[in-house]
């Protein structure tokens, strides 16, 4: 009531960003420090009670622009030009004390990783009501009452008592909802959602997304919703702004952006990136055969793989799909010998592999390579690309000098990067280029099998698409087999020949791609498939209604 009254006195235009320019000082290796511009004169407006989606790939400046509405520059970033009018006044001119009165009161923030954004030392309730108490919006009793009501609205379990828990006692999806409650608790005019569901499993994402959408609708709060996933933004936003390299590409209402994009870049984002991949038929004798493998952590206490059996045929791709905690990465650890199985056996190329990594001959190690999700931590930052790719050549084949450099050049050519990259350091490469170097490094060993563990998950969609195409081309040329671990079903459709769906350590569905993706589905596969956001307004409501089971809640 009071809020509705107050709102009538406030201007209809809540946020008006004019010619925003944001710069940062960077310190490149072997070069003098320089100032780079992250955001180039971007203007945008948001009306009271509306949701504006900010979309773009990494480096587009989405988060930087979102945080500017709180007059905040992350990590030494400086807002060097333009105006940010919030409720009719420029908050960039308020000074530190004035800005503190705006933050947590008129604008609140929901971070990507709620798990890191909550203080581990304090109970959730204390953190939820903190801003409301600080700004004198409510007494403690009122604020807690409001928090409990918000917990209920966001369908958190045990809304009366969950506030007494500590962050580590609550799952990631629940924490993300508690963070939304925190933002709503001080009844702000605007909430900045910074990729709030990106770190979640696809089956959890849909719940959190629905909770956020309901909460926005019922509280009439305005929101900036930042994401790299257009399909997700399309579910919640009234309008969408497309950003690229710190510049505004296109803005329009949601329907227009996803159905009638005007700019080429927006069209590329909207286009469905499924790669046409014809399924290969299984060969008579599989190359990798995992038979009844059971593995556990903590000396057999925590069973993470239960009686898992899968086969992989030469030159083909087996996709292992599941949400976090389903045991898919553990399967890779068991196959590579990093986590010796308790029971079962793994045969490779007609022979049985030793369970323990230490017992395997060099030849087994060579034929079985791995590529990881985080390319930048999988490489030594102090080695050049030449050293990184050359290392397996020296180690497995004893190549030296010119012969080695020749082969490195060939490999760089294979991953569609020129020899000019040989003397660069990992820090001088983009995310996609880093992953390509990792692919070249694994290929250098001439393996028969490469285990790819979420290799495209940390990449922007267009870049990821390029990596998948490259992997398929290389499979054609080198006849290498992939064990492809992922949580992303679109990826699976693009490259798999066979699919194993894992749930809580067990394979719940397994077979050739065409069979696995063909109804009738078991309950879990159905949940997994129906949780993948589609670029369609109203998809969220339909999907929630049609669900047959709850997610595991990770």
């Amino acid at each position: 009531m009071a809020k509705a009254q107050a709102a009538t006195h406030k201007p209809e235009m809540l946020l008006d960003i004019r010619d925003l320019r944001i710069e940062a000082r960077v310190y490149p290796p072997d070069e003098a420090p320089k100032t780079i511009t992250l955001v180039h004169d971007v203007s945008l407006t948001l009306k009271r009670g509306k949701v504006l989606g900010l979309i773009g790939e990494s480096g587009a400046g989405k988060s930087t622009i979102g945080l500017s509405s709180m007059a905040f520059g992350r990590g030494g970033v400086k807002i060097s030009g333009g105006q940010v009018l919030l409720n009719g006044r420029d908050i960039l001119t308020l000074g530190p004390a004035g800005v503190r009165k705006v933050r947590g009161r008129e604008v609140c923030y929901v971070a990507q990783s709620a798990a890191a954004a909550f203080n581990p030392a304090h109970k959730l309730m204390d953190q939820v009501v903190e801003a409301a108490l600080l700004h004198g919006i409510a007494t403690r009793a009122e604020a807690e009452k409001r928090a409990v009501a918000l917990f209920k609205k966001l369908s958190l379990p045990n809304p009366e008592t969950i506030g007494n828990r500590y962050p580590h006692q609550v799952s990631g999806g629940q924490l993300q909802r508690v963070m939304t409650a925190t933002a709503l608790c001080s009844e702000p005019d605007l909430i900045v959602f910074d990729e709030p569901t990106t770190a979640l499993d696809v089956t959890t994402q849909i719940d959190v997304l629905a909770a956020i959408k309901d909460a926005i609708r019922d509280t009439h709060v305005a929101a900036l919703y930042i994401s790299h996933d257009l399909a997700v933004v399309a579910q919640v936003a009234d309008e969408i702004v497309v950003l690229r390299n710190g510049r505004l590409v296109e803005r329009g209402d949601t329907h227009q952006i996803i159905k009638l994009p005007q700019q080429d870049y927006t069209r590329a984002l909207v286009a469905v990136h499924e790669i046409d991949h014809t399924e290969k038929q299984p060969s008579p004798s599989p190359m990798l055969s995992v038979k009844n493998v059971t593995a556990a952590y903590g000396g057999g206490v925590v069973k993470v793989l239960k009686n898992v059996s899968v086969d992989l045929h030469p030159g083909q791709t087996l996709a292992v799909v599941g949400e976090s905690g389903s045991g898919k990465s553990t399967l890779a650890r068991a196959i590579t010998g990093l986590l010796p199985p308790e029971q079962g056996s793994i045969s490779f190329d007609g022979r049985t592999l030793s369970n323990r990594l230490a017992d395997r001959p060099k030849e087994d190690l060579r034929q079985l390579q791995m590529i990881y999700q985080m390319a930048d931590v999988a490489m030594n930052p102090r080695q050049t690309v030449r050293t990184i790719i050359g290392r397996p050549l020296e180690f497995y084949f004893g190549m030296r000098g010119k012969e080695r450099d020749q082969r490195v050049a060939e490999l760089l050519d294979k991953i569609e990067m020129g020899t000019g990259f040989a003397d660069r350091y990992p820090a001088e490469l983009s995310g996609g280029q880093k992953q390509r170097v990792c692919i070249a490094r694994s290929l250098a060993a001439k393996p028969k099998l490469i285990i790819c563990d979420e290799v495209t998950s940390a990449l922007d969609p267009l870049v990821a698409n390029g990596i998948l195409k490259l992997l398929l081309d290389l499979q054609q040329e080198e006849k290498v087999a992939y064990l492809f671990i992922t949580h992303d079903l679109a990826t699976v459709k693009s490259i798999a020949d066979a699919i194993a769906v894992m749930y809580r350590g067990e394979v719940v569905r397994y077979g050739p791609k065409s069979q696995v993706l063909e109804p009738p589905f078991d309950a879990y596969t159905d949940l997994l498939l129906s949780s993948v956001p589609e670029m369609e307004q109203g998809w969220l409501e339909t999907a929630i209604q049609g669900r047959r089971m709850e997610s595991a809640g990770n």
């Binding site: 800005v99 503190r100 933050r103 947590g104 923030y109 954004a117 203080n119 030392a121 700004h135 006692q169």
Partner: protein
């Protein structure tokens, strides 16, 4: 209170006791391999062979080493620290008053230095890399770099000789009025404070700066908290474990490392007592004082460990 945490604490205490036992063996062995004969040093050079043999028999020096060790240990466990060779006094009663004096001095030095160090550390983080931070760090490092005997004499020169505010010799006696006693320990307590301040301050600063990188600090900033509230409410609680560790290490130093300062100010504490008896080669006293120092040291470190365990919400509130 949950069982895993009790188990962890019990483990720490058991380890501490084991360590103390090992130290007692070391102290005993160490003093045994020192040259010199106790009976000889009691009776002097002019003693006859017969009287030496009699005394050895009476003191049990003819028993094998391990029997003497267990007799010694048994005595300590029943509160009997033995008798000083030089004076024939009961060590326990001689130490009693002195231990209390040392603890009194250490207590007040800690009361001043710990809050001061942590407060300065917080202040240094608040104004990190600025003038205040550099001033605090500079002064604290300077005070640590000066050896304690130099600081001690500096304090005596100005406060006792030039301005005559505090006594230069810290005489205390039983039944001394509290304020008099405080006045007497003012200078040694100040000297100790200056010695331990910088270490605690620098570690507090480093531990909190480390926490300031966390995402939840940004959350607090975006809630509109002021910089000092962020440090106090959100950073400090997560830096308790390392801070407590360094505080306890310095508290132990206040008790165990007080020797030089006590000698400068002629303060009748454990340090003075120890130094006197080392000079007199009074082995039972050295053993007893060594064991007490070790016990203090180990106890404080166990307390630090337990505090660090209790400060961890993951251990306090398991899933």
């Amino acid at each position: 209170m949950s069982s895993p945490i009790l188990k962890l604490i019990a483990q720490r205490i058991a380890l501490g006791l084991l360590l103390l036992f090992a130290v007692s063996v070391l102290i005993f062995v160490g003093t045994q391999i020192l040259p010199g004969d106790v009976a000889q040093s009691i009776l002097g050079q002019s003693a006859t062979a017969e009287s030496l043999a009699n005394l050895r028999e009476a003191l049990g020096l003819n028993d094998p080493a391990y029997i003497r060790y267990f007799k010694w240990l048994g005595g300590i466990l029943t509160g009997n620290l033995g008798t000083a060779l030089s004076s024939g006094q009961d060590i326990a009663s001689a130490i009693g008053g002195r231990l209390w004096n040392t603890l009194f001095l250490a207590f007040w030095a800690a009361v001043v230095s710990v809050p001061l160090a942590i407060g300065l550390g917080l202040l240094a983080v608040r104004y990190r890399n600025g003038f205040v931070d550099k001033l605090i760090s500079g002064l604290a490092l300077a005070s640590t770099s000066l050896p304690e005997f130099f600081i001690g004499y500096l304090l005596v020169y100005f406060f006792a000789v030039q301005w005559q505010i505090f006594p230069g010799i810290s005489t205390v006696y039983d039944g001394m009025p509290f304020l008099e006693r405080m006045k007497a320990i003012a200078l040694p307590a100040t000297a100790l404070t200056l010695v331990v301040l910088a270490h605690m301050m620098r570690m507090t600063r480093a531990a909190i700066l480390n926490v300031m990188q966390s995402a939840y600090i940004e959350t607090a900033e975006l809630k509109g908290l002021s910089p000092f509230e962020i440090i106090r409410k959100h950073a400090f609680p997560n830096a308790i474990a390392p801070v407590v560790n360094v505080v306890m290490l310095n508290l132990a130093y206040l008790i165990v490392g007080v020797v030089v300062v006590e000698v400068i100010f002629v303060y009748p504490g454990m340090g003075q007592y120890l130094v006197d008896h080392v000079a007199k080669r009074d082995v039972p006293v050295v053993q007893a004082v060594g064991l007490i120092f070790a016990a203090v040291y180990i106890t404080l470190n166990i307390i630090a460990d337990i505090a660090a365990i209790l400060a961890n919400p993951r251990l306090r509130h398991p899933k």
